[in-house]
Amino acid sequence: MIMFESFIQYLITHQVPEYTIVVLLYLPIVSMFITFSRYVFGWKSLSIYTTIFLTFALYELAKTPAGSIDILKGILQGGIIVSLITSTVLFLQRPTKDIHLHYLSKISIIVSAVSFLIFVMLYAAVAINIASFAQLSIVAVLMIVLVTESFVRTYIRKGMYKAMNYITNTILLSFIIFIIIAQNPFKQAVLNHPEFAIYAVIADLILGRWRGLRVSEYFRFKDINLKDSNDTQSPKKSA
């Protein structure tokens, strides 16, 4: 463990940006959080990649030009962009469904629409003079756009109601994880103890063998009227 710590220190002293190292150390921890939420809580989110992408997109959006992390900025910008892109993508399902397009051409049209939408947003940001929004991280936007493809697939297969459920859960989960990892004390703790990333892998191993009921299953099966185990009593012997 000490070796790992000194290795990280070595990288930092040799001009590897702290941000890069933090993100790399966060990756195993974030994925462990998602694993935990799935197997222990039964949190119904879309694929693990989707949630990871969304979380780091938020993290990227929260980055200030000075290099620090502004949680509020992440939540606000992230909230606006994610909700706008998601609603546009889902809204476009109806008209594209009626004209029977191939899947890829449909996705291309949707991605293009999102791109135009970002232009509109940028214009609006410039018009009402919100500088931080006008300089939003385009990498983060790209990540969010990529994620919406899985939203579309879920929508097509599961229908509106279930898809909305999954999508909301996914977005909610990534916001929760983002809020945790964006805390400065959390970042400092991970930087001081980079072995947390290794512990996360150990936790993954344990979670991988976790066989207990998920918290959600306690609610799902709560109406089963189970009888207590009835041990057969030995007959009362009376003459």
Binding site: Y218, R220, K222, I224
Partner: protein, 481 residues
């Protein structure tokens, strides 16, 4: 409710445990591949002479689709993705109208080009596991068994048996409803009813609404018809096929789904290597404790597997009636455990349950065995004739012997009994007996029944706490004791 579940959580199977301990452990990859592909499933089952729904055509690619003529198949069919999940991508076609449009449930119509579009979606993998390219399957539509008619909205109910190591462990039937648009998938809003394995009778029912909430339902929508108490036709056949199918496919833990055709009887529609856990709600019972009981059992034959499932997990309906009435259900010929006078010994005897007799009666030799020899000797010492001659009246005998007989500590009463053999004066003793888990005191007259089929008989006076089911048969009754 959650507290009760917390206390009994070891009985319920959760997804985590299903995947790690059952699906991966008992379903080898090769077997899973058979189950995941509906065409392979059918080929494998056909070899074992298990009836399946009939495949009319398989469309593998765009070329097949372009060459396919819908007029070449009957006008009523089902389109399915070969690797579909949770019933998505399935379309039921009832007929074609004059313009050639396909008629779907709800009188929705689909033109031929729309139908081709749907098949293209299937081929592109919209409904398959992991969105991989898929094939489309055109199957004959099963005409539902007449008994189901009042219970379903369009569609055909689907009977599911979960087998573990070939032994049936739980069963349910899914009724298509208006919400499920005629589909028998519980995730789409179909009603699911648990089935008592022993009798094939439905028990509890539940429905999952679109918002994911689960409701316990009792009646078929807009009717006074109960979902419970329905007897599934061909029940034994269904259990037999499920055992055989899981064995042939090599699936240790799977669900076998059946449709019941009006003419052809039960047909296997698919095997499922990752059965859902909703069945536990429909049956109001956990799967886990059932699976754990079977872990160390070995079914010696197909018939043995069916019998094990029925004996171990059946009888829910009966239990329920017993719970409501507070009375035990017994059969006409019921095994009864008799305790000896000292309570140290006991013996199980096939007993005739006779509502035509007032009093219970046991054989003299059996009574002697149970320690009442002394009482019998006491009776014999008076030399009362076995059959009372006509000239002696009952009052006379009673006056003469009653007090003397009853003075013996084991004898509680004495009476004249009129039977087909004539009149006889008998003594009555008190015995401790047990039927299933119920212990009670029997007042029995002692008679020589050595020439009769059953050494004991229970009459009306001792039957107050029981309900009699003439159809009940006690399987393996002797092993139970």
């Amino acid at each position: 409710m959650i507290l009760n579940l917390l206390k009994n959580r070891h009985k319920i199977l959760g997804i985590n445990e299903r995947n790690i301990n059952y699906v991966r452990k008992y379903n080898p990859r090769s077997a899973r591949e058979i189950a995941d592909n509906k065409i392979t499933t059918k080929n494998v089952l056909k070899e074992a002479d298990i009836p399946t729904t009939k495949i009319l055509a398989v469309i593998k690619n765009r070329k097949d689709l372009d060459a396919f003529d819908f007029n070449s198949v009957s006008s009523s069919f089902v389109i399915k993705p070969v690797n579909g999940t949770e019933g998505s991508g399935i379309e039921l076609i009832y007929n074609r109208d004059k313009k050639g449009n396909f008629i779907l449930p709800y009188a929705h119509k689909m033109s031929e080009s729309e139908m081709r579009g749907h098949i293209v979606n299937i081929l592109e993998g919209r409904y398959s596991h992991n969105y991989a390219p898929d094939h489309a399957l055109i199957e004959e539509r099963v005409k539902p068994h007449k008994k189901f008619r009042a219970y379903v909205y369009r569609g055909t109910p689907d009977v599911r048996i979960i087998t573990f190591r070939t032994i049936p462990v739980m069963a349910m039937v899914r009724w298509p409803t208006r919400e499920s648009e005629g589909k028998a998938n519980a995730s789409k809003g179909a009603v699911a009813s648990g089935i008592d394995l022993a009798t094939g009778t439905t028990t509890h029912s539940m429905q999952e609404k679109k918002n994911g909430k689960i409701y316990i339902v009792e009646y078929v929508a807009k009717t006074q018809l109960r979902y419970s108490g329905f007897k599934i036709p061909y029940w034994d056949k269904i259990l037999g096929y499920s055992v055989k199918a899981s064995q042939i496919a090599g699936l240790g833990f799977c669900a076998v789904d059946f449709l019941i055709d009006r003419e052809l009887g039960p047909l296997v529609v698919e095997l499922n290597a990752r059965p859902g856990l909703r069945i536990q709600i429909a049956n109001q019972d956990g799967l886990k404790w059932r699976l754990e009981q079977i872990k160390y059992l070995h079914a010696k034959s197909l018939a043995h597997a069916v019998r094990l499932g029925k004996d171990l997990f059946g009888g829910e309906v009966e239990e329920e009636i017993e719970a409501i009435a507070g009375k035990k259900i017994i059969s006409l010929i019921q095994p009864v455990k008799f305790y000896s006078k000292s309570g140290k010994k006991n013996t199980v005897v096939k007993t005739k349950v006779d509502t035509g007799a007032d009093y219970s009666s046991i054989d003299m030799h059996l009574a002697e065995e149970l320690g009442y020899k002394d009482a019998i000797e006491h009776l014999r010492s008076f030399n009362i004739p076995q059959h009372l001659p006509k000239e002696i009246s009952a009052e006379d005998v009673r006056e003469k012997y009653y007090d003397k007989l009853v003075s013996h500590p084991d004898i509680v009463d004495a009476m004249v009994i009129v039977s087909s053999n004539g009149r006889s004066y008998r003594i009555v003793i008190e015995l401790q007996c047990k039927i299933d888990e119920k212990i009670f005191t029997l007042h029995a007259t002692i008679a020589d029944r050595s020439n009769l089929q059953f050494p004991a008989l229970i009459g009306k006076k001792d039957l107050k706490d029981f309900l009699i089911d003439p159809a009940k048969t006690n399987l393996n009754i002797w092993e139970k004791y």
